[in-house]
């Protein structure tokens, strides 16, 4: 009975891993639509205004050349708008196509009834390729990801472009130490970010402020070469353009930071004006620290992923940790060679957890819970304590050509220990 229930495939609950697969094209469609809406609105307002001015101008001066010229610019602007829309339309259709391909792919699963069906195997292989591509993209290995998607023919099922764009911004923060790309992204997603109460833009602006202050202090330092006489007071904001930078920083803060309402943080930010990057006084030193860029990159990633309904960790991790535990047994990291699955005889297969690829990874996960013993039919025990299914023991001994009346232990191979058949005993596993 247990057998029957364990091989039945419940497609509905099987889709747990696949929500992002459908969410992503939906989010992309919405983004695409919003872009279209924005460009149309923007152009409409501008162009109607322009037409009105042109009409007014025409009735006043009646210089036909000027009128024609302004009409020409309007026409070319409209054409740009059309080009933009056509681009967005193409993208729209591409997204729908991939959404349909994904739905078809998931639909396939509903047609498989059993977990031991060959079709399920095939489907699951495609899923693994998808999970691998997702993992590669998240880790920033976009070339490999694109290559794998191509060679497996699943480009419609993965979001290489979206992740490449995301990686580019992440890298510009982590390695390039530049906020411009990330700020641009914030502007594009302004509404949703505000709705979700995201701190990303504020943090980016704060970083800009920090950099301005840093530049100010450094320039100030350059201006004071050799005049190390400012003594106790610490700071002397001298020439060298340093002051100008600090003033710029203050205006920047007024414009972008003061609305946050977090006075404690604002106080600390103001303190930066008095403490220089090399003063090593907390809490200012940690604001100056380069590790803030890593923090920004991580913050950007988590903001991006939650906006696009992507889980924070790669799906491969989620699938693998569950799978490793479900498969792991106490025998997988045991000091004794398992009788039932080992590499030393051809009558058994190597267990995937014992295989080199996963063995170390599985060391830290819990093993599966079982309430019943699972052993081969008709188990017998050899004098050395090893238990085998009698069928398999017989098959092995036939294959290695053991003399009749004798039984050899498969773990030892052809030169393994051998006993008289009479010494093999039945064993009772309850």
């Amino acid at each position: 009975m247990a057998e029957l229930t364990s091989t039945k495939l419940n497609a509905e609950s099987h889709l747990l891993l696949d929500q992002p697969l459908l969410r992503m094209p939906y989010e992309l469609s919405r983004r695409n639509f919003k872009n279209a809406q924005r460009v149309i609105e923007h152009s409409s307002v501008n162009l109607t205004k322009e037409l009105t001015t042109a009409t007014k101008a025409a009735s006043k001066t009646s210089s036909p050349d000027a009128t024609l010229e302004s009409l020409d610019t309007m026409i070319s602007r409209m054409q740009t708008l059309k080009r933009k829309l056509e681009g967005l339309h193409e993208e729209e259709m591409r997204i729908h196509k991939s959404a349909k391909a994904r739905l078809r792919h998931l639909q396939d699963l509903y047609e498989v009834r059993s977990l031991v069906d060959v079709k399920y195997d095939e489907w699951s292989r495609t899923r693994l390729s998808r999970l691998l591509v997702d993992y590669l993209l998240r880790e920033g290995y976009s070339e490999s990801a694109a290559h794998l998607a191509q060679s497996k023919g699943i480009t419609n099922l993965v979001d290489v472009d979206a992740f490449v764009a995301c990686n580019k911004i992440e890298r510009s923060l982590r390695e390039g130490m530049s906020t411009s790309l990330a700020l641009e992204w914030c502007k594009e997603h302004g509404k949703e970010l505000k709705k979700g109460g995201s701190m990303l833009e504020f943090e980016l602006r704060l970083q800009q402020y920090i950099e301005l202050v840093r530049q100010g202090h450094e320039a100030g330092m350059g201006g004071m070469d050799g005049i190390e006489s400012d003594g106790m007071n610490g700071i002397n904001i001298g020439g060298g353009g340093g002051e100008a930078k600090l003033v710029e920083a203050r205006t920047h803060a007024k414009k972008y930071l003061s609305t946050s309402g977090d006075f404690e943080l604002l106080g600390r930010a103001a303190g930066l004006l008095a403490y220089r990057p090399w003063d090593e006084v907390e809490p200012y030193a940690s604001l100056y620290s380069p590790s803030r860029w890593t923090h920004l990159a991580t913050l950007f990633l988590s903001t991006h992923h939650s906006l696009y309904s992507l889980p924070p960790r790669p799906l491969l991790h989620i699938a693998l940790s569950a799978g490793l535990s479900a498969l792991k047994t106490p025998a997988c990291h045991s000091a004794y060679t398992s009788s039932s699955a080992n590499a030393s005889s051809s009558t058994t297969t190597v267990c995937p957890i014992c295989s080199t690829e996963l063995n170390e990874l599985a060391r830290n996960v819990p093993y599966a819970h079982h309430t019943k013993s699972i052993v081969e039919n008709d188990p017998v025990v050899l004098p050395n304590g090893r238990i085998y299914g009698s069928e398999r023991l017989k098959a092995f001994n036939k294959k290695v050509g053991t003399e009749s009346g004798w039984v050899r232990d498969p773990v030892g191979g052809i030169h393994g220990d051998a006993w008289r058949e009479g010494e093999v005993r039945k064993v009772y596993i309850m």
Partner: protein, 415 residues
């Protein structure tokens, strides 16, 4: 799934940007027409422009209005999606023990790609991964991954030599290709001969099976070429081959070799002979290829199917159970007390069972190295700890039969 597809198709067929694009084109037409008019008659400029105002504005408004169906279509699409995944949360990463070992994951992926025969993807990946080594992230079980990094690095790099592995898998794919597509046994036989001893000690029939298939090929093949010929060219050929190669196997495979030789007598009508099943076995090639694949991987200490594939599939099967457990634990606010064992049983199909499992019938616990299974003289097996508790060091009765024994007499067994 169907309602989702319906929504997408609706968007694709009717609610898309092309209507708005047409509106924009209309506006452009209006502008160009006006321009032409003004160019022809400069004095009409103020009038033409004034007349243009209203229609132009309206066309652009239509362009905006035409976006509405897309908007509502997308909204519906979103609602259907929400409904579909209402009771299916995005899997959380609470028990993620893997983020702290990215180099091990990378190695597993590289090996997976190689064993799948994706050599060029694998080499792109290895190159990219070396260029940008992964950053381990702390997780619950390994809060500080960097501490362990050195052994892990050694391990990941020490045993993982992608070029060597790639060469080996390239050889495997070459041989498999020859077997499956070219029906050429030579490379496989060559490979098996070189490993004859080790294959034999594993109790593998592979070498003999390959040679037998070769014999069958020789026997059958030429017969078809010149079937009018009276001279039994094919069988003769096969006979010579048997003298050369098969006699070496006669100790281990006496019966099989005798069978093959016996078939010689039926060279004229092998189809009607009792040996027909050896000579006309369509699945023989696939069987040989399969067992070659298994032996090849086993000799490398690897399982025959990709462990990554099996683990990910098992994971997908297990996930619903694990998530349910998580939500129950959250509801009841209980903690999971057995750190090294999952709290729920996950019913995996039989092909996903590899090791035998022994659950002590007394304590209901799985046996481990520290608490191994013990067999009493009567042949019943219980866990070591149960044995100690039951016997308290003195003679005791087996819980499953009337037999009495001393715990000293119990013997450790390995499943």
């Amino acid at each position: 799934m169907d309602d989702l597809r319906e929504q997408v198709e609706l968007l694709e067929s009717s609610a898309h940007l092309s209507t708005s694009i047409n509106d924009v084109q209309k506006a452009i037409d209006l502008l160009t027409a006006a321009r032409a008019k003004i160019a022809a008659d400069p004095h009409a400029a103020p009038l033409t422009l004034a007349k243009l105002q209203d229609p132009f504005k309206k066309t652009l408004e239509t362009a905006q209005k035409d976006l509405k169906p897309i908007y509502s279509g997308l909204n519906k699409y979103g609602k259907v999606l929400d409904k579909k995944f209402k009771d299916k949360p995005l899997p959380s990463a609470e028990n993620d023990a893997l983020s702290s070992h990215p180099s091990l994951i990378n190695r597993a992926i590289a090996m997976h790609l190689l064993r799948e025969g994706q050599f060029s993807v694998a080499s792109t990946f290895v190159e990219e991964a070396n260029r940008r080594p992964p950053h381990p992230e702390p997780t619950l079980n390994t809060p500080n991954p960097y501490l362990k990094e050195s052994w892990e690095k050694d391990l990941a790099e020490g045993t993982f030599n992608s070029e060597k592995l790639q060469q080996q898998f390239a050889e495997m794919y070459h041989i498999l290709h020859e077997l499956r597509n070219e029906r050429n046994l030579e490379p496989a036989i060559q490979w098996a001969k070189e490993r004859s001893e080790i294959l034999e000690s594993r109790g593998s029939n592979l070498e003999f099976e390959l040679c037998r298939l070769q014999f069958v090929c020789l026997f059958v093949e030429q017969r078809e070429d010149n079937c009018r010929d009276d001279r039994p060219e094919g069988p003769l050929h096969a006979y010579h081959y048997a003298l050369q190669e098969l006699l070496g196997f006669s100790k281990r495979y006496m019966r099989d070799v005798q069978e093959l030789m016996g078939a010689m007598a039926f060279w004229q009508n092998i189809e009607d002979s009792p040996y027909c099943r050896i000579f006309y076995n369509n699945s023989a090639w696939e069987e040989v290829a399969h067992s070659f694949n298994r032996e090849f991987c086993s000799l490398l200490g690897l399982s025959a199917d990709s462990p990554l594939f099996i683990a990910a599939t098992a994971g997908a099967i297990a996930l619903p159970y694990l998530l349910k457990m998580q939500s129950i634990m959250k509801e009841k606010r209980t903690e999971w007390t057995t750190q090294n064992e999952l709290p729920v049983e996950i019913p995996l199909p039989t092909p996903y069972h590899f090791h035998s499992i022994f659950v002590c019938p007394v304590s209901k616990e799985q046996t481990t190295d520290a608490n191994p299974p013990m067999m009493m003289p009567c042949g019943h097996v219980i866990a070591h700890e149960s044995l100690e508790k039951l016997s308290k060091g003195a003679r005791f009765k087996c819980p499953y039969c009337p037999n009495e024994s001393h715990p000293r007499e119990a013997k450790k067994v390995v499943l």
